[in-house]
């Protein structure tokens, strides 16, 4: 088969261009390596460029939530080029390394954090067959790579030799490491239901999206994804009003930009992972297999479906950021270790046992059984949390009362306010 421009363009539109190239040049290892390199470049470039749009979107949506207009000067009345201008500004800033800093750790951290954020995308299925590589341990690989960002944060905080940075780094380690536990455990549930760790096969198993089968697991994953990416209400690691900016206080110019880039890329990745594991990824009532004439248009439609799902989740991320205040560090850790982790452990047990009992039944029976199991666990957990909160509130009130009595007793003055 020889090269044909029309066929090539056609395969480009239907996103089967790699298959076409394999047909033309053969399936040799050399061709594979070239295709892999092109794949890496495409995925990485996509991640870096989409961030420009994401930052604009975030600023615009947050502005609307806070009753402002947001960027509206650079690049037309919607401020579309605002981020481009910001990037250009960052590029022309002086490159400073503080005198007291550990030079290696300080300069290495921005690189490794972006590396970790990019590497996760290798197993993200964008459309049927459009995936970096369909590893058979896909989800496991994601967890392994995402842990690297914790090391980068610690490198940044420790290397800066700045007390605020160190405090931010330690907070981030406590937070990210804690929330990784419910995240890993809640990821077990889609794996259990799909009987596979490969992202493609998890999507293939979702004749009923897992958010209907296991809504509680989806909720726990969503909360821990918020914490893992360090976004409000869990943005303690960079809390501007407490520790200036946490681990990246000493960074300036593009090195600072890299931390932001990594944050946005990994947040988008978490939305994509949520869409893949719980919303059925690129699947939408068989739309992804559509063929019109000799054009396999399905892949393109699948890509669009995936993007719609991913950006819906991303919008919820922004929405939460614009709505909720920051939690306290003890609240953050208590909520994780005393609520999320026990609930997730119980949930795994319930899902596993129910799945063994109803495994042979049809898809709808399984769905209803799992849904009821999830619902019961969720309601019991909520009730327990409500009771604990009530007890805590009573203790706090009692403490305030005693303190007030102690304060007012010696002076013999009664304050009638409150």
């Amino acid at each position: 088969m020889s090269f044909n421009l029309v066929e090539f363009l056609k395969s480009l539109v239907s996103l089967t261009v790699f298959d076409y190239v394999r047909q033309v040049w053969g399936d040799t290892p050399g061709v594979e390596i070239v295709l892999d390199i092109i794949g890496v470049l495409v995925v990485s470039t996509f991640c870096l460029l989409i961030v420009i749009f994401l930052i604009w979107l975030e600023r615009k949506v947050i502005a609307r939530i806070q009753d402002r207009i947001g960027p509206n000067r650079v690049g037309g009345r919607y401020g579309l080029l605002q981020t481009v201008a910001d990037v250009l500004k960052l590029l022309t800033k002086e490159d400073i390394t503080p005198a007291g800093a550990d030079k290696v750790a300080y300069n290495l951290a921005p690189l490794t954090i972006v590396m970790a954020a990019l590497l996760m995308w290798a197993v993200m299925p964008f459309a049927p067959g459009v995936i970096g590589v369909d590893l058979n341990v896909g989800v496991f690989y994601v967890m392994a790579v995402s842990s690297v960002s914790v090391v980068s944060l610690l490198l940044a905080g420790w290397g800066s030799n700045n007390k605020y940075a160190l405090l931010g780094a330690f907070r981030s380690v406590a937070q990210l490491v804690s929330y990784e536990v419910p995240m890993i455990l809640s990821l077990l549930i889609p794996i259990l239901l799909a009987r596979s760790m490969s992202t493609e096969q998890i999507i293939a198993a979702q004749d009923v999206p897992f958010i209907i089968m296991a809504p509680l697991s989806a909720l726990i994953f969503f909360i821990s994804a918020l914490a893992e990416t360090g976004r409000t209400p869990f943005d303690l690691l960079e809390a501007e009003s407490e520790i200036v900016a946490g681990f990246h206080v000493e960074y300036g110019g593009m090195k600072f930009g890299m931390f932001f880039l990594a944050e946005f890329v990994s947040t988008l990745f978490m939305s994509g992972l949520f869409a893949t594991l719980y919303l059925g990824g690129y699947r939408f009532f068989g739309l992804e297999n559509l063929v019109i004439g000799d054009m396999e248009i399905g892949r393109l439609l699948g890509l669009i479906v995936f993007f719609v799902k991913m950006f819906t989740i991303y919008f919820i991320f922004i929405w939460i950021r614009g709505t909720l205040p920051r939690v306290r560090v003890d609240q953050l850790l208590n909520f994780n270790w005393k609520f999320l982790v026990p609930v997730t452990l119980v949930l795994i047990l319930v899902v596993a046992i129910l799945d063994k009992l109803a495994g042979g039944a049809g898809i709808w029976t399984r769905t209803v059984v799992q849904l009821v199991g999830n619902g019961v666990v969720g309601l019991v957990a909520l009730e327990l949390m409500r009771r604990a909160a009530r007890r805590y509130r009573r203790e706090q009130e009692a403490m305030v009362m005693t303190r007030r009595e102690l304060a007012s007793a010696p002076a013999e003055v009664t304050v009638s306010s409150h």
């Binding site: 002086e94 369909d134 496991f140 700045n162 007390k163 990784e180 077990l188 009987r195 110019g253």
Partner: protein
Amino acid sequence: MLTDWQFIALFVVLSPIFPAMPVIINHLLGPKKPNPIKQQTYECGIETVGDSWVQFKVQYYIYALVFVIFDIEAVFLFPIAAAYDQLGLFAVGAAVLFIFLLGDGLAYAWGRGVLEWV
């Protein structure tokens, strides 16, 4: 199988280029006028007192320790979940016992008051 990891290997090799490129461009484009005051540690505007590489609150490390236990044990749960179809009742019972052990570890840490933030 091995060709799958070829992509990851290439990705690991190529991915440092993407963050390194803007940092290097920044280094070339930006002005270079270092002076001692500019390179001081930025804390509150006051001169920094002492090093920040000090002994730190042990609480953070305890959380990290609890995490390590959970993380390692959760790793064992992944293959069980992926191969759930091929497991007999005995294996499922073992997995359930394993999760109880995990829960026991958490209960121990909780009971010892390790999870209280002070």
